[in-house]
């Protein structure tokens, strides 16, 4: 076996050259803190075995730690899931991610996560001026501060021409797209039977048609990179939520995820979804008005935007390569339990 080659053996064990039987444990630094804990087993070989999303970043960190202790790490090249790559490269370096609706909330968090893992970012939002434009611009600055490229495109995903412009600009600026994250959403909070025709149309145009327009317009770019699509869904796709007609669109989109995973799979494009529990973003402020008791839900059941972003990273990483057409639930177990003892404030 060659020095520095990575074998995909187990998601949490690194096999390193060194003194046989010696064990090291390592917690990844920075934004990987807490997301992953690896056990390091040093064997009498020059094989590094690692199968996992943060392979590059972990080994980079490990290399530094071992160098400090005077231990070597054979080879300087590493890649998750079996291929060789430069050691200090981040997993998504030279990759490009477009996140719809990334001026704030979950979309913003996903964009930052991609940037931290090396990707260049297309930020998209809809409203002109105000906090929306300011938020998009600030995100762009933060991405650039991480050493990545970023630009903002204001576009309304519910308007086909606007979507066309979004992807034309992506092509012009980056000339590639690896990850399309369908995150933008907007909907009235009202029981379905009370929706006006205008509201119904807007509901479908933004949250169903808009996502499909994006998929269609992204195809030529995604095909070239064997890219990935991740749709951000919500528990409303499966469960009743008062005054939440968006749920029906999420259900439709989860079906589109299954459908396109097959129809686009042959062209090398993977499609999956992440179904988030309840996240305290701006839209939570609206939700709170209709779910009055929600303030009494234990804090531990609220999902952080970063937790959603982490699973998006996983799906986009080589570690997620075997997952197709699935929508993974990230809700801290909220939907898993039929019974909960009375929530305390």
């Amino acid at each position: 076996m060659r020095a520095g080659r990575i074998e995909s053996v187990s998601p949490s064990i690194l096999l390193l050259p060194g003194k046989k039987g010696c064990r090291e444990s390592l917690r990844p630094a920075g934004n990987l803190q807490g997301s992953l804990k690896v056990r390091v087993v040093v064997v009498d070989s020059d094989v590094i075995s690692l199968n996992g999303i943060f392979a590059g970043a972990i080994l980079h960190r490990l290399q530094i730690m071992r160098a400090r202790r005077g231990l070597g790490l054979a080879g300087g090249r590493v890649e998750s899931a079996g291929r060789l790559k430069d050691m200090d490269k981040l997993p998504f370096e030279n990759r490009t991610a477009l996140i719809t609706g990334s001026s704030r909330g979950i979309g913003r968090s996903i964009a930052l996560s991609f940037a931290r893992h090396g990707a260049d970012i297309v930020v998209n939002h809809h409203r002109q001026g105000g906090s929306s434009e300011a938020g998009a611009k600030q995100l762009c600055d933060e991405v650039r501060a991480l050493g990545r490229r970023a630009f903002v495109v204001r576009a309304d995903i519910s308007v086909k021409d606007s979507v066309k412009g979004l992807f034309e600009e992506t092509k012009r600026e980056f000339d590639r797209l690896d990850f399309l994250i369908l995150n933008a959403a907007r909907a009235p909070f009202k029981p379905i039977e009370r929706l006006l025709e205008r509201e119904l149309r807007q509901l479908v145009e933004t949250n169903y048609l808009g996502n499909i327009f994006c998929i269609q317009a992204a195809l030529p770019l995604l095909e070239k990179t064997q890219g990935k699509i991740v749709f951000i869904s919500s528990l409303g796709s499966r469960f009743y939520n008062p005054a939440y007609p968006l749920g029906s669109m999420k259900a439709a989109m989860e079906s589109v995820v299954r459908d396109t995973a097959e129809s686009l799979g042959g062209r090398g494009i993977s499609v999956n979804g992440v179904c988030a529990g309840i996240v305290k973003t701006d839209s939570f402020k609206v939700l709170r008005q209709y779910m009055e008791e929600i303030d009494r839900m234990p804090e531990g059941l609220f999902v952080e935007p970063e937790e959603v972003a982490d699973v998006v990273m996983f799906l986009c990483s080589p570690a997620g390569r075997g997952i197709r057409g699935q929508t993974l639930v990230v809700d801290r177990g909220l939907s898993n339990s039929l019974y909960r003892s009375v929530a305390v404030k």
Binding site: R194, L196, R198, D282
Partner: protein
């Protein structure tokens, strides 16, 4: 019933506080006729913040839907907002009655996105007072008429200790629209 347990000054004070905190602006920059959007830089989400604060303070539920949405639900789609997203004549007439002087800038044909700019500090005070005035004569839990203030902003039953239950803001808006329609036959 017009309640007098929570004085208007208290409502004004709490509205000012909610606006200053919700918008993160300097105290003293809020005048009764300041438009939240035009003068204080508020966005639609900020209204949620401000309303939430006021609801917590007074134990009330303010309207979640705009008066235009209620008009459309009650008097038919496009009765208030036309197919081009513009304010209809009838809706403008109704809004002027609701907002009095504050509604002076309303014009039929204006873009409905510009309508929320007529909301002033004073109109939020009125909205809160309107809900507080829905205080029932008697406690809905025990039937006593013994309302007493608590912490200056909540109303409690002096007999059983339950908090007062008010009509919610959306129902009040609908009631008001219904009455106005019966009187003036605008739609």
């Amino acid at each position: 019933m017009k309640q007098s347990i929570i004085p208007e000054e208290k409502v004004v004070e709490e509205v000012n506080k909610a606006i200053v905190e919700g918008l993160d602006i300097k105290e003293g920059s809020v005048a009764p006729d300041s438009s939240l959007i035009r003068d204080l830089g508020a966005e639609s989400l900020d209204f949620l913040d401000i309303n939430y604060r006021l609801e917590q303070t007074f134990g009330i539920k303010l309207a979640r839907h705009s008066i235009l949405e209620h008009m459309e639900e009650m008097f038919g789609e496009e009765s208030a907002i036309d197919e081009n997203g513009r304010l209809t004549e009838k809706a403008a007439a109704m809004l002027r009655r609701r907002f009095g002087d504050g509604g002076a800038s309303l014009e039929p044909g204006m873009d409905i996105d510009e309508v929320p700019a007529i909301v002033t500090v004073r109109s939020i005070v009125d909205g809160v007072l309107h809900v507080l005035d829905s205080l029932p004569d008697k406690c809905t839990s025990c039937g006593a008429s013994a309302w007493t203030p608590e912490d200056g902003s909540r109303i409690k039953c002096g007999s059983c200790g339950e908090y007062a239950v008010f009509t919610n803001g959306d129902d009040l808006v609908r009631e008001w629209l219904q009455e106005m329609q019966e009187e003036e036959k605008i739609f």
